[in-house]
């Protein structure tokens, strides 16, 4: 609970600091707030506190809180001069991101479906505004509107699903629902089944899994890059944590029922994400589609529910988050210099910026899943988990998709190293350097010695 309070209070303080034009103080206050909440995450470890049956701060919740807070912290470090170009009042950007984070903490720690809904809504409403925060930019407005309409639509599905399940079981509580399923296995109310499907659809919308992914590329492309970073890393991680918590804690007894639609979603997601990413000429849009394909790999954790599922999602999400932050950070730097985010603007980048190019290369290798990077360990764990039930065809399909992934992730490496181009020199402020170096260290460390994180949950 301390975590949510800290984040919310920080958000309010930042808002007031903005009111009094204390621009220089915004970032330090935010960072202190986030670091404090990280400390609370660490101290609450293994205590497993429950708050009024609504939220449970178990290690699952804490681990995902930790990683989302850390991701947000990195993104805040990247705000240097970023928003200042758009607006005088940057305090509201900070506040909205922090409020979204508060919603995310609820999403990863809920024990009651009403809290799930509240968490998702707190987060989503902030994101609708953030996506459209460039008021005079057409693409940004379009992104916001699309995101809002689609998001509202999917929330409808989610709510309808919750209602049906409540009708069947008489409770919002995950544990009660689980017990209901175990106790009445032979006589489950027929309302329950459409409830599960509707919730699956609603959550698939939120995490951007196909065939409910249509909003993702446009919104990711149209929103300011830093907001896209936030959406595709922190928000996505939270979405999967919520997804996993619901299906593993509450719906696990009906695994046989919801597995076939889930596998269909996984396959379509992998295929559409990868194949469409292949044809993108825009780096940002490619990352959007690749985030869809990563959603497919992340859903693997639900295909075989085991004690390791949560941990596997954590490892994969960590790998994906830090690699993506690198990719977006470099993209921001490149875009500031060249003015566009096509692959072409990366041409010849390695010549003048060898270290930045190396960092981005490692990020791409991690996203593609090359050994000795965190991304490989993430994919490996997912494959291992699914192979545990000998779903060999599914893994083989995923491997074919991973191969497609190599093509488009290597596109940017090819552009940086092998193509001649405008020899721009990127300016990396100190904070960017810190983020890039830390992210690369985490990516390589998790790739070489993942033992530290494997038994966290």
């Amino acid at each position: 609970m301390n975590i949510i309070i800290t984040i919310t209070v920080t958000a309010l303080v930042v808002l007031y600091a903005g009111l009094f034009k204390a621009k220089k103080a915004l970032l330090p206050i935010t960072l202190i707030g986030l670091l404090t909440s990280l400390v609370f995450v660490a101290t609450a470890w293994n205590t497993n506190q429950t708050y009024f049956g609504m939220m449970q701060m178990d290690n699952f919740a804490l681990a995902f809180s930790g990683i989302t807070i850390l991701g947000t912290l990195f993104i805040f470090l990247l705000t240097q001069n970023y928003f200042a170009a758009d607006s005088e009042n940057i305090a509201e950007y900070f506040t909205l991101i922090l409020f979204a984070l508060a919603g995310i903490i609820i999403m990863v720690s809920y024990k009651n479906m009403s809290m799930l809904f509240i968490g998702i809504e707190i987060m989503s409403v902030c994101l609708y505004i953030l996506a459209g925060i460039r008021k005079s930019n057409f693409a940004s407005n379009e992104a916001s509107l699309k995101y809002f309409l689609m998001g509202a639509f999917s929330t409808g599905f989610l709510l309808f699903g919750i209602t049906l399940i409540y009708g069947a079981t008489g409770s919002f509580d995950l544990e009660t629902i689980n017990q209901y399923l175990v106790g009445n296995y032979k006589s489950i109310s027929p309302m329950f089944y459409p409830g599960i499907i509707l919730m699956m659809i609603g959550l698939s919308f939120k995490v951007g899994a196909a065939p409910f992914h249509f909003w993702t590329p446009d919104v990711y492309e149209g929103a300011p890059t830093l907001i896209t970073t936030f959406m595709s890393t922190v928000v996505k991680t939270a979405g999967f944590a919520a997804f996993l918590r619901l299906f593993a804690d509450a719906f696990a007894p009906l695994h046989d029922f919801w597995l076939p639609p889930l596998i269909a979603i996984v396959c379509i997601t992998l295929f559409i994400g990868n194949v469409t990413a292949l044809f993108q000429k825009n780096f940002k849009r490619m990352l959007a589609y690749s985030s869809i394909s990563h959603a497919g790999y992340l859903l693997f954790s639900l295909v075989t529910l085991s004690g390791n599922s949560a941990n596997n999602v954590l490892v994969y999400a960590a790998a994906y988050t830090f690699a993506s932050i690198i990719a977006f950070a470099v993209l921001i730097m490149v875009k500031q210099k060249t003015g566009n985010d096509h692959f072409d603007s990366f041409n010849g980048l390695a010549k003048r910026n060898p270290l930045t190019a190396l960092v981005l290369t490692i990020a791409m290798l991690s996203l593609a899943g090359i050994p000795l990077t965190a991304g490989f360990i993430g994919k490996y764990l997912m494959f291992l988990n699914v192979m545990g039930e000998y779903q060999i065809l599914l893994v083989a399909f995923a491997i074919l998709n991973a191969l497609v992934g190599f093509y488009y992730y290597f596109k940017v490496i090819v552009a940086m190293y092998f193509k001649e181009g405008n020899e721009i020199e990127l300016e990396a402020p100190l904070q960017y350097k810190v983020v890039l170096v830390l992210s690369v260290v985490i990516t390589l460390f998790l790739g070489v010695y993942p033992a530290v994180i494997l038994n966290l949950i």
């Binding site: 060898p354 290798l365 090359i370 050994p371 000795l372 490996y380 494959f383 291992l384 192979m387 545990g388 000998y390 060999i392 893994v395 083989a396 491997i399 991973a402 191969l403 190599f406 093509y407 290597f410 090819v414 190293y417 092998f418 193509k419 010695y449 993942p450 033992a451 494997l454 038994n455």
Partner: protein
């Protein structure tokens, strides 16, 4: 003594890091690192008892929860491949001395980084570690070929990369399957040897592994990436690919395929042999028609590797021992050939056979050393190629006489196209282009002399090398046949 292997594996990595930050002195630093590695390998050979046991064993827990250990050791088979790697890397670095590559520190660092990957592959006794090494060797060579290669390098190397990684991902699938079958849930090679898999399972694992190895070697019909990649790669890249990297595939078959799925080999090994023999004939015929010398050598390499692969799947001591020594010889010879072609192309900017001629008059030292290398390649008695191909042919002959007849064609075909190439490049009339040719000097001489010395020494007195691997090879054959008889 235990730490010797760790030092051997990680010294090149350290060398790579130092090289990366040593600016213009990079090539010297890299050479020193490679020579120290070679010295370490020689110390290891001196301390190696040539029996079937695994020596210099290291075993540290790495990722405990997933049953992954840093488990490595050296037996006779590994010893040969370690020697091959650590002899060739300094030669390849020295062979790149005359080139002025841009960002040469990165170039040499990548070579050394690759060396670590190769050494992990050749010593690991843990399947996961093996896989890591397998990929760790691929990434640097991809960058070497794609950054410093010819003008078509981007497309060609993408094909190469995706081809190889496709193979290795399905191998990973096979490894995970074995891991799950293993009641101890670890990747230990001994546990994999002891698994009881039925013939259907073994068949699937056989193909998952064989395709990965066949792509690497390459065996027909998985070879289509090879000629273009070799042609477009910078000289050092081609030498690394042909000299060392393809041996990863051969080593993989010996270490990870035959003993783990003997029934699979019994059921499907003949297909592998047939593919190898088709590859031999097919590649030889194509080599005849090549106009570019580098492509010709690339195809000849497919033919030679086909023979090695056939010799291994024949599953007898002669074939296997032949493969061992031929791995070493082929590595040395092919590096020599590509180096000679590199010397020519860096002076005359072409490797087209028809544009060359009469170089011998201008460069007698190059002509003589090149002749020795060509003789080694065509397996003239007294050179290193002879003893390997002879043993391989005996091995294949014991398996099936017709296979031996077709496989024997390599030697005849090889002699024809190799000599024809030599004749057209070195002999004949000096033309306007080749009149400017200057003879080899300095580091070039050092590389060529070393290679020629190795060719002759190994050809005249191969016994120490054969002895290194003999006990291990026999042990391996026994292990496989024992397992087969216990099944039947």
């Amino acid at each position: 003594m235990e730490q010797l292997l760790l030092l051997l594996i990680f010294l090149p990595l350290l060398g790579a890091l130092v090289t990366a930050f040593s600016g213009n002195a990079a090539k010297h630093v890299a050479l020193v690192s490679a020579i120290v590695s070679l010295a370490l390998a020689l110390v290891m050979v001196c301390n190696f008892t040539p029996d079937a046991s695994t020596q210099f064993m290291v075993n540290y827990p790495w990722i405990h929860d997933l049953g992954i250990n840093f488990h490595a050791g050296v037996d006779g088979i590994s010893m040969i491949t370690i020697l091959l790697t650590n002899v060739l890397v300094p030669l390849i670095i020295l062979a790149s001395y005359q080139h002025n590559y841009k960002s040469s520190n990165a170039f040499f660092a990548l070579i050394l980084f690759m060396q670590t990957g190769l050494l992990i592959v050749f010593t690991s006794l843990d399947a996961f570690l093996f896989y890591i090494g397998w990929e760790a060797a691929l990434i640097p060579i991809y960058f070497i070929c794609a950054v410093w290669g010819g003008k078509d390098r981007i497309k060609v190397n993408m094909k190469f990369f995706v081809y190889t990684i496709a193979g290795s991902l399905f191998m990973l699938l096979g490894l995970i399957y074995l891991y799950l079958q293993n009641p101890a849930h670890n990747f230990d090679i001994q546990a994999f040897y002891n698994l009881n898999l039925d013939s259907v399972q073994q068949g699937w694992i056989f193909w998952a592994f064989f395709i990965a190895f066949a792509i690497k070697m390459p065996v027909f019909p998985f070879h289509t990436w090879q000629p273009n990649t070799y042609t477009e790669a910078p000289a050092a890249g081609t030498m690394l690919l042909a000299g060392i990297m393809l041996k990863m595939g051969i080593y993989g078959v010996i270490r990870w395929l035959l003993p783990i799925v003997p029934t699979g080999v019994q059921d499907w090994g003949h297909v592998a042999i047939i593919l190898s023999v088709i590859g031999i004939v097919y590649a030889s015929l194509i080599a005849f028609t090549q106009k570019d010398a580098k492509r010709l050598v690339a195809y000849s390499s497919i033919a030679h590797v086909g023979l090695i692969s056939a010799g291994i799947f024949a599953l007898n001591t002669q074939g296997m021992q032949g493969a061992m020594i031929q791995m070493l010889s082929h590595g040395i010879n092919v590096v020599g050939l590509f180096f000679v072609l590199d010397i020519i192309s860096s002076r005359l900017k072409t490797n087209r056979i028809s544009e060359l001629g009469g170089i011998a008059k201008q460069a007698p030292i190059l002509a003589i050393t090149a002749l020795i290398i060509v003789l080694g390649t065509v397996a003239l008695p007294g050179t290193n190629g002879f003893i390997g191909e002879f043993l391989l042919l005996i091995g294949v002959y014991q398996y099936n006489i017709w296979v031996a007849v077709f496989a024997g064609l390599t030697i005849i075909f090889g002699a024809v196209y190799m000599f024809r190439m030599y004749q057209n490049i070195m002999l004949g009339k000096t033309n306007d282009l080749t009149i400017t040719f200057t003879d080899v000097k300095g580091s070039e001489k050092a590389v060529l002399y070393t290679i020629c010395a190795l060719i002759i020494v190994l050809g005249v007195y191969p016994k120490p090398v054969l002895q290194l691997s003999e006990a291990s090879v026999q042990h391996l054959i026994e292990q496989v046949t024992q397992k087969l008889t216990s099944v039947n």
